[in-house]
Assembly symmetry: C2
Homo-oligomer: 417 residues x 2
């Protein structure tokens, strides 16, 4: 970052002119009062941008939000956790639209000015009888300083809410960007399986906003993996309302470039937070590939290593196992030459020219003993680089994901299935 | 199978004119007398064919065996478990060649008439001081009825040896095909991570043999996955010595077609045995994709489902989770339409037209409660089909693969690292 930024409080509610709210509807669990429905609202008209899962099986709220963004800008976003509203057919579309409609009515907006997101179990109807009656309370509860409530309302198997906010100067004006994410499972590139919401009071042209979002997603959420599974609900929504008072930043202007840098910083911070809070994750591993012939080759190598079950299991075990890393490099389909590959683990050379390096085993084990470390793979074939963020794979992850039967039982109790 | 076959005893040693042998060298564990070095020998000149890992990081024995097969037919194969001789550089090549050389000397063959295979830990030098002195005993121990010894000598984390043998008639002649495999970890298509050895006394032209092996591997070992990791050592070697006395079967002759069918049956049987004995596997799942627009689309869908960590975890938990299956179908990159997809689990309809079917949950849970079941996915878009064989992913698999440190400690004790 070539300009100063300051971390500030408030998360998604930090930027000027935004209000947020959250309530508990019992979608996650009818017997608990955990927050599971949230709302973000820009008090003035704003610009918006979104990016969505590339999974061909898209959840109903993804389809509805995409349609609404195509029609114009959205000014509010309603999001629930506990049910993904995915594989729910036309009734699911109807439910997602009715969430937008109810919120729009409360806020005096058009239904298409509201985005909608859902996350949770796939294939079960939305428990609208529990959700809908809470929307008036959700709307009337809108306020400042409730960013954290919203961040908590969208999490599922996450162990804690994940939010960040920064302020920085664009010319003479102080600007804020804040955001929050939910992640935990089904995390894989293009894009990570998650919901991300970002608000900013920067005043930027639509073209600048679009470019900033595309670029930041590519270098953040598309660079992380936990379990290699891509979700049906991935969504990033960014609202920019210009309330900082700055003059509008055109695409390619110095202010826009600065805004893009800040947006990248915010998204990368949130993306890393998702990996660190992945389901039953104990290690945060940065994989840096260098010396590839092309960008695509470097990416293939990074993805193969970051997604290998055996490599990830070895990280869980604190085993500096470069043999498993090089075997994943070998099947990545990138152009590589075994005898040129160097691998460092935590800054210590583990493999040189495809062979075991001299570094004592104790030093390598020490290097992977911490909660975070870096794996560097130099293919020594060219100049291209790629960086990804990954986690270990733990026995507890598998155990945690063995069954969603409890959700089905609840749905039957609700008379939904 | 449109002609009768009979299962017979003897595994890799069942065919006429072959002898096998196995010894314990302490490669797997110096303190145990587990068999870890095996030999197959055709008492007469024979034809041979091989297929090898497509991983670009190839173990030394793979490179040596490939080279020897290119030079002409091989007549003997030496194989060890406990050390993969992978990522071992020129010394590894030297060790693999010396294994061939020592065996060739004992058998009065040229060094290039011997194939060599290794399986085990990657990146550690071969403990040749323990291995080489045992080769004379290995050679002198050659005999009939030792197929099972060989099958036990090649296994690593497998819980038991896996072998099969059949006899059938080609014209007036009784022919035998026998084989054995090792599998357990690093199992993924193209090809499965494993060693497979097959002997037959059929008399077939080289072109017929090559086609039979290529086709059978494609429909067996390339259709299985346990953990999605492709190994550096995958090898299939087939020796055909003609000792059944039948006249030579030319490519495309009725006898060759019958031979190909029998070879497919044998390899498929061995491939399934690998999945059933996968590391900490509790379920054997057949995934049948139908109604795809192309063969490649069907394959993409099957592979995505069979490799999804979340799908496999749900199988482990006995959870008939069609939502996770359809989400993997969605990211498979195949051309699909969500609203056309039907999914059956154990013959019970779980999802129809992308939505939950009426089958009671208890029936679906019953369908996945057994050790083996079938998942059928109909894309309803065309006529193409693809079948794969997969396993669940268990917490115990991850736990089992957390560390290979014990191997390194032994290697240090041996003065190898």
């Amino acid at each position: 970052m070539d300009f100063p930024i300051t971390r500030i409080k408030g998360g998604i509610g930090a930027a000027k002119g935004f209000a947020t709210s959250a309530v508990s509807c019992g979608i996650k669990n009818p017997e608990s009062d955990r927050l599971d429905l949230g709302l973000i609202y820009s008090e003035v008209p704003c610009k918006s941008a979104g990016m969505f899962t590339t999974n061909k099986v898209k959840a109903a709220p993804v389809k509805v939000s995409q349609a609404n963004l195509r029609k114009g800008s959205i000014r509010a976003v309603v999001a629930n956790s506990g049910n993904a509203n995915a594989c729910t057919g036309l009734p699911g579309i109807h439910d997602a639209k009715s969430m937008c409609g109810d919120v729009a009515k409360g806020l005096g907006l058009k239904s298409t000015e509201v985005g909608v997101c859902s996350t949770g179990v796939i294939g079960l109807p939305m428990p609208m009888t529990r959700l809908s009656p809470n929307i008036p309370t959700l709307v009337s509860g809108l306020g400042k300083k409730k960013g954290n409530d919203f961040a908590r309302a969208i999490i599922t198997s996450d162990t804690h809410e994940k939010e960040v906010a920064i302020s920085f100067d664009l010319g003479d004006h102080r600007v804020r960007i804040g955001g929050c994410v939910k992640g935990a499972g089904m995390i894989c590139p293009s894009m990570a399986t998650m919901l991300c919401f970002i608000t900013t009071d920067a005043n930027v042209a639509q073209a600048c906003l679009d470019e900033a979002v595309r670029e930041a997603v590519e270098e953040s959420f598309n660079r992380i993996t936990i379990d290699g599974d891509m979700s049906t609900n991935d969504t990033v929504i960014v609202l920019a309302n210009g309330e900082s008072g700055m003059p509008s930043a055109r695409r390619n202007s110095p202010a826009c470039r600065q805004f893009r840098t800040a947006m990248k910083w915010v998204m990368l911070e949130l993306a890393k937070a998702i990996v660190r809070d992945g389901e039953r994750v104990t290690k945060f591993v940065t994989v840096e590939v260098a010396g590839a012939r092309t960008h695509l080759d470097a990416k293939k190598v990074a993805e193969a290593v970051c997604k290998s079950a055996l490599v990830k299991a070895s990280w869980n075990g604190g085993d500096p196992n470069w043999g498993r890393i090089i075997h994943a490099v070998g099947y990545s389909r990138a152009r590589i030459r075994e005898e040129l590959i160097d691998i460092s683990i935590g800054g210590k050379l583990a493999c040189i020219g495809g062979l075991q390096a001299d570094t004592p085993m104790d030093e390598l084990r020490e290097a992977v003993s911490g909660r975070e470390f870096v794996i560097q793979i130099n293919l020594n074939q060219g100049e291209a680089k790629y960086r990804m963020y990954s986690s270990d794979l733990s026995p507890e992850y598998v155990d945690f994901n063995r069954s969603e039967y409890a959700y089905w039982k609840q749905a039957r109790k609700d008379g939904l299935v």
